[in-house]
């Protein structure tokens, strides 16, 4: 029997506000344990939450970016459970009236484009952090740091619309790209500011009802998500083919072994006893706020990619790479603007620039070669002042020193030799040294021309204008 997977994803993304969602404590990462806490985020009796307006704006922007309906009134609710990282004994979240609903995200995989439904986006607070003790003294304990408690989060819940691990990854990348474009979160998966849980089930192809799902957690990279889902699909199919059935449970991905494991301990049926948060009035979103958020939306990744393909006539692949970050896209556009060479510029940005940055472990924002300076270099190639090979050398120097292309070219004497008399001397020398090859060429071995060109380039340390060398060589060899 053939099976298909049904995958739905929940994303938690920390918002880049200065302060927590319900109090004025700083959200700065890396502070000493419990140094950024107050009666509100400690859950002390009598403390009252006050909602952070910036967090609301960010959440509304996200909702608009994925075409959600923004609910004019949404309600905070208490989700009750016990865990040491949750000081109040409940998390303030949103339940039956979330901030945003009914959105969609377009994804693209090798199988083409598809729209994935976004069920809802709601606001909530993060929990604290648990550090598990080690050694004789601390081994029996865990330590609670509440700096992260009450950090604003948005939770983005998808429809169960994805069918393959590839689609799930495309969706997550798409969401993360949007979040980064909006600048509302740093999207760091390793540090946990962008987290993903997956609900996954399988069913025979053609069946419309859903199978029993497992919830998959602990996947903090795109690769782990892909591997975890792929493993889980296999596991569920094997289970059913072997006459068993899938148990509804939470499973953790073990990246070291590449498998998923049922969470230990009794998985008590969740009973969160949600009820409206009595300490917060409903969140009312004004038309004005929505309009302001709409106006502040930048051009989003999918639209930008389309435009790059159309406007610059570059391949889809190039466009995909260039829009992967807003800063990279801006860098590329600045280069094109100055060079009027879309494909050549794309080759340079995707080639030399991204390679150098990757080797250096730097972001495009930290690139020592400015868009302006790269454009100058590309123009020197275009005008024939330097060859492409020399240009790569010049680029390496620019990257190292932050210098300008024309300065490096003149300082190092790298300009192409376009002076015929200078080239003729080198050519004559090459021809006289290789008299036998000249004879063979004249006898019909035309392909030897490439050999002569190579020798001349070598004799000029690559600085000869190749077009001119070709022309002059042909002339000399005719005579």
């Amino acid at each position: 029997m053939k099976y298909e997977a049904v995958i739905g994803l929940e994303i938690h993304s920390q918002l880049l506000t200065n302060t927590k969602i319900f109090c004025g404590c700083s959200t700065r990462f890396g502070a000493a344990p419990n140094s950024q806490v107050c009666p509100v985020c400690l859950g002390l009796p009598g403390a009252l939450p006050v909602l952070n307006g910036k967090a609301v704006e960010f959440a509304v922007e996200m909702g608009l970016a994925v075409e959600c309906t923004i609910n004019r009134e949404s309600v905070f609710a208490r989700k009750n459970y016990f865990y040491p990282d949750l000081p109040k004994g409940y998390q303030i979240s949103q339940y039956d009236k979330p901030l945003a609903e009914h959105g969609t995200l377009q994804i693209e995989t090798d199988d083409g484009r598809r729209n994935i439904g976004v069920t809802r986006i709601h606001m909530e607070e993060d929990a604290g952090k648990l550090i598990h003790g080690e050694g004789a003294e601390d081994g029996g304990h865990s330590f609670v740091d509440l700096n992260r408690a009450c950090t604003p989060l948005i939770e983005i819940v998808s429809e169960p619309d994805m069918r393959t691990p590839e689609e799930a990854v495309a969706y997550l990348k798409g969401m993360r790209d949007i979040i980064l474009y909006l600048g509302i979160s740093d999207g760091n998966m390793e540090e946990g500011s962008f987290r993903c849980d997956a609900n996954i089930s399988i069913r025979p192809v053609g069946q419309t009802t859903l199978g029993t799902k497992a919830e998959l957690k602990n996947m903090n990279s795109f690769k782990f998500i892909k591997d975890g889902l792929a493993y889980e699909i296999e596991r569920q199919i094997d289970l059913i083919e072997g006459g068993g059935h899938v148990v509804q449970e939470t499973r953790l991905f073990d990246s070291a072994r590449g498998i998923t494991l049922a969470m230990r301990g009794k998985e008590e049926a969740h009973d969160y006893r949600y009820f409206p948060e009595p300490d917060l009035k409903p969140l009312v979103i004004t038309e004005e706020l929505i309009e302001r958020a709409r106006k502040s939306l930048p051009e989003l990744p999918v639209a930008k990619k389309e435009r790059f393909i159309k406007e610059y006539e570059i391949p889809t692949y190039d466009a995909g790479v260039l829009i992967s970050s807003r800063v990279l896209a801006e860098y590329y556009e600045a280069v094109v603007k100055a060079t009027a060479e879309a494909k050549l510029s794309s080759n340079w940005v995707m080639g030399e620039v991204l390679r150098a940055l990757k080797e250096d472990n730097r972001e495009i924002g930290e690139c020592p070669v400015s868009a302006h300076n790269l454009a100058e270099l590309i123009l020197m190639v275009k005008k024939g002042i330097i060859s492409n090979t020399i240009a790569k050398e010049v680029f390496a120097e620019m990257y190292k020193t932050g210098g300008k292309a024309h300065e490096i070219v003149s300082k190092k004497g790298l300009s192409q030799i376009s002076d015929e008399s200078a080239l003729v001397a080198v050519i004559d020398e090459v021809l006289s040294k290789n008299a036998d090859s000249v004879e063979r060429y004249k006898a019909g071995e035309q392909k030897l021309l490439g050999f002569f060109v190579g020798q001349v380039m070598k004799g000029t340390k690559g600085q000869a204008n190749p077009g001119l060398v070709n022309k002059l060589l042909k002339e000399r060899l005719k005579g």
Partner: protein, 95 residues
């Protein structure tokens, strides 16, 4: 709405409360009484009234995203039964 012993034990379990048989019986009766008292409200005709759990009027007040001082170090852990390494210390939580 009727509350039975099973409901009370379930709620007690969620709240991490260990109840004796006498307590279970007592709370079952008390909770039944409370709920039937609250149930009197359903006698009211609320057909034309929008459901709300809050005083109507404008929504939640919003705060500027400006950092305010946090609690001083000592005070944070002042009431903690166990503390170490600037943290609240709890029995080991196995993931």
């Amino acid at each position: 709405m009727k509350i039975d012993t099973k409901d009370v034990l379930h709620i007690a379990d969620l709240a991490r409360l260990a109840l004796t048989e006498e307590e279970t019986a007592l709370y079952t009766e008390q909770m039944c009484n409370i709920l039937s008292y609250v149930d009197k409200l359903s006698a009211l005709d609320t057909k034309d009234i929008t459901a709300s759990h809050q005083e109507a009027s404008e929504g939640a007040a919003l705060r500027e995203d400006v950092v305010a001082p946090s609690l001083e170090g000592e005070k944070v852990l002042q009431n903690a039964p166990e503390k170490a390494n600037k943290c609240f210390r709890v029995p080991r939580i196995i993931e």
